[in-house]
Symmetry: C2
Subunit: 212 residues, 2 copies
């Protein structure tokens, strides 16, 4: 990083830039103008220039952006250039769906899953071993884990988060239908994903279109 403070709004937009730049790399595109990127992303070219100026002189007049450089630079800012180890608590459908995602390409490697259902005992999902939940504290003592992903019912989420934090976990990716960050120590980072709230936004927007 170049020492400058980057605003939260810019940070929130970075993953989307990262995704588009990754797509461009896959298409074999080596450089792109802010105008062309603007057309693809449906963001104004001036917003793109402003946002990307935060990361130093990657755009050059008459040349545009070097796609790969910019992709790597944004990846560094997002911390995707180092490997994070991840465990998933809850081996149900959502846990399994997340185990199937290729988050490893963003540096997040799922190394174990945990569940309280004995039917999972000894099973391996996509190469990832599933352990019983009672073995979690012991596991965390002997493994360095960066992120715990919670795909378990909301009634268990807060208690589980406490156990995780007591055993050194600093990052929680929470899919349970509750806001975990309100009750955890300040040095723990929580990202909540509330799927039903996303569905409610869709519902609201549908209503509005029908009223038009």
């Amino acid at each position: 990083m170049n020492g400058k403070e980057i605003s939260k709004a810019v940070i929130r937009r970075l993953p989307r830039y990262y995704r588009y730049l990754g797509d461009l790399i896959n298409q074999g595109v080596e450089r792109i103008s802010s105008g062309d990127l603007s057309e693809q992303m449906q963001v104004t070219a001036s917003q793109i220039r402003q946002d990307l100026n935060n990361f130093g002189g990657f755009g050059q007049q008459g040349y545009g952006y070097n796609v790969k450089n910019l992709y790597e630079e944004i990846g560094k800012i997002l911390g995707l250039d180092r490997e994070h180890t991840m465990i998933i608590i809850g081996a149900g459908n959502l846990g399994q769906a997340l185990a199937n995602y290729n988050f490893a390409k963003n540096g997040f490697k799922t190394v174990a899953m945990f569940d309280n259902n004995p039917k999972f005992k000894g099973s391996v999902i996509r190469g990832i071993p599933v352990y019983m939940i009672e073995d979690l504290p012991e596991y965390l003592k002997s493994h360095r884990i960066d992120v715990a992903t919670l795909t378990l019912p909301k009634d268990y989420a807060a208690e589980m988060a406490t156990i995780l934090v007591e055993n050194g976990i600093k990052g929680i990716w929470n899919f349970a239908h509750t806001d975990l960050d309100l009750h955890l120590p300040e040095d723990v980072v929580v990202e909540n994903v509330h799927l039903s709230e996303s569905l409610m936004q869709l519902s609201y927007n549908l209503e509005q279109k029908q009223e038009d």
Copy 2:
């Protein structure tokens, strides 16, 4: 609705109010002051009063908010008081996980799933029949479907969205790793859920805490 325009920022916060109010109802709470709600939600009481004032006089001095009334009013604004029918395209783990969610309590009823994998032919997941993808256009001709949820690989998403829209679908809940809304007609509502972007935010915030 009372005819007033409600700002987008307020609308974005409504699902969270709705969730907290639903929790309060489950706990048997009948009324709550903006101060108590503020403490639970970690939002300032004045923001709560300002937000909820948009919906008329539900808060009363010395009484607080009637939890059930407010819950129902917000539900109406979000369009949750009417039933929406939903289909899920992609019967893999994520599709199955979403089929397992109880979105019906918010008025969203999943009535069918579709997949191109013959192994699902004739199967029923959580009471929801799975049909082959080639039967989708015919199905949409004979069923009124409000929302299609896409849990299929990104390479198929745009084509599938086109087929859906051609067959009358007006709402798409998209989990594929691409922004569908950029290429669809204006009267189609799309809500994109990009899980890896959420993970990148977590990654960034972890980096920041470690630098502190």
